[in-house]
């Protein structure tokens, strides 16, 4: 039995593989990782050299993994929205989107196909960068399970970022507008989730339940993830925040693993919402799609 790949994914990957962008992308991506790796090694070596011989180089090498992983996450966070932002608006610009809409592909499958092709493209990069990551990981003495969790989390994160890109692409006529909108949404999610706790802090109030907004912040999710991997502690442990300060619900989540599961669920929920919004927006049977076209006409006339 053959697996039926989403036709959009197949086409996008086929086209991407033929363009030089993919090769250059992998090249640059690996270059950044290698440079980070070398830089980190240089710093570690100079540290070890300068400190008394009791210091074991391996205790420093442990930090290679989170450093490289965070760089990798950063690149994914930047690139995936850019790739996916141009997905649907790119089809509109190329005037291929109408034909796609007249086929039997449902709007949701179109949207999902676009996210998936963006994510798979970034996974090429991730896999290409694996050896470098693996060195840091083996030398640093991580467990295999952690590497696996990391890859799962990274993939989910890429899907999340992709769904933002596709949603903004669906509501934009031009790709450049879509990219800008994606980063605005990014900012809203990363920035505004800090806002409640920040305001409370400024006014000298207890944190209350304001940390709950962090559940929706993938940045905090990864922070917690690495915190747990590296130290076995949670950001929200009694050690790190005074439990009397936080509200009842936040207190319940002071178990880091539980926190990560719930935060993961929140991020997946947001992803689903973004995908549904995108599918709704490209469906010509909803009035939104019609309004878009009208603006386009006026623009070109």
């Amino acid at each position: 039995m053959k697996i039926r790949l989403n036709p959009i994914v197949r086409k996008d990957l086929q086209v991407a593989a033929r363009s030089m962008k993919l090769s250059w992308g992998v090249f640059l991506y690996d270059l950044v990782l290698v440079l980070t790796f070398l830089l980190a090694m240089a710093i570690i070596q100079s540290e070890v050299g300068s400190v008394y011989s009791r210091d074991n180089i391996y205790s420093y090498l442990v930090y290679l993994f989170p450093v490289l992983a965070i760089v990798q996450i950063g690149i994914v966070a930047l690139i995936v929205p850019i790739i996916t932002s141009s997905s649907i608006s790119g089809e509109k610009e190329r005037q291929t989107f109408d034909i796609m809409l007249t086929t039997c592909l449902s709007p949701l499958r179109i949207v999902w196909g676009k996210v998936l092709s963006g994510v798979l493209r970034i996974l090429f990069y991730v896999v290409a960068g694996m050896p470098i990551l693996a060195i840091s990981f083996v030398v640093g003495g991580m467990s295999w399970a952690n590497l696996f969790y990391y890859l799962v989390a990274l993939t989910l994160f890429a899907i999340f970022s992709g769904s933002i890109g596709v949603m903004c692409s669906a509501m934009s006529r031009r790709s450049i507008t879509a990219v800008i909108r994606s980063f605005v949404v990014y900012f809203v999610i990363y920035g505004l989730t800090f806002l409640p706790s920040l305001i409370r802090m400024i006014y000298g109030m207890d944190a209350g339940e304001s940390f709950l907004f962090y559940l929706f912040n993938p940045g905090v999710f990864f922070e917690e993830f690495f915190m747990q991997i590296m130290t076995g502690q949670s950001l929200f442990d009694g050690n790190n925040i005074s439990s009397s300060d936080v509200g009842f619900f936040t207190g319940l989540l002071s178990n880091g693993t539980l926190w990560m599961f719930i935060s993961g669920a929140c991020i997946i929920l947001m992803t689903v919402v973004f995908l549904l919004v995108a599918a709704w927006m490209i469906n010509p049977m909803h009035s939104y799609a019609g309004r878009k076209r009208r603006k386009k006409k006026k623009g070109t006339e």
């Binding site: 086409k11 086929q14 086209v15 190329r94 039997c104």
Partner: protein
Amino acid sequence: MLYINNLTKNYGKFTAVDNLSLHVPEGDLFGFVGPNGAGKTTTIRIVCGLLKASGGTVQIGDTKAAVGSKEMKRMIGYVPDFFGVYDNLKVKEYMDMYGSMYGMLSSDIAKLTDDLLELVNLTDKKEFYVDTLSRGMKQRLCVARALLHNPKLLILDEPNSGLDPRARVEMKELLKNLHSMGKTIVISSHILSELSEMCDSIGIMNKGKLITAGRIENIMQQAAGGKKIHVRVASEMEPVVRMMKEEAGVVVDSVRENELIITHSGTEEAVCELIGRMIQNKVLLTGFYQEEGNLESLFMQLTGGKN
């Protein structure tokens, strides 16, 4: 086959399609004619499920499928007025992609692709990249693509725009060919004469309204409404003109040295009787012919009159 009932599309206060009702019989090649901005594209996009109608219904065959539903999409092959292709994609991959979007199996698509490319005369381009094809080839490829899922109804929006005369002829041949295979085809155009030779029936649209629709012969007759007749005489002109002016239902349009153009609104028999009377009156008749129903002038008359 295709039933459009009271279709209306408003853009704000502007009505692009106004209460349009139309029926395209099965197996017909239907020409949809109208000047720029008549609402042809709007109508077609609604039928294809790319635009939401403000009112009215569209039905294909006797199914109850709603516009934009999968069932409906499966019955329509659409060639838009403007469309693009992908870079870095070969012709056969292009076909494969669209086939799989209709849930077809790659092996079936490959077989059909060969047949369709032969039909549209692109067999030798199978391994070419689609973006390297000429406009005419892309247009034909798009027709092949639209036929891939074997739709009952093929809709082409101005397939001739941007094509050179040769490509137009090829496109026309292709459409005739498909027509003879029994496909129901709707084709839109600005130019009536382009359609009149190949269509079975036409609909003329202007400013969102359907002005007239029907079998091409009937429309031709309508066009001939007042028959324009050229009368050539070798004898004196004046008595002939005088005689014509006395005839009921005859208007003299112009008089030249030995030719007279009249508009006759009577029947064929009345025209014959007129000839008889002229001969009785010793007119030396050297020529007498009736202009073909002039579609282009009918078109101008129908679409221009209501400004």
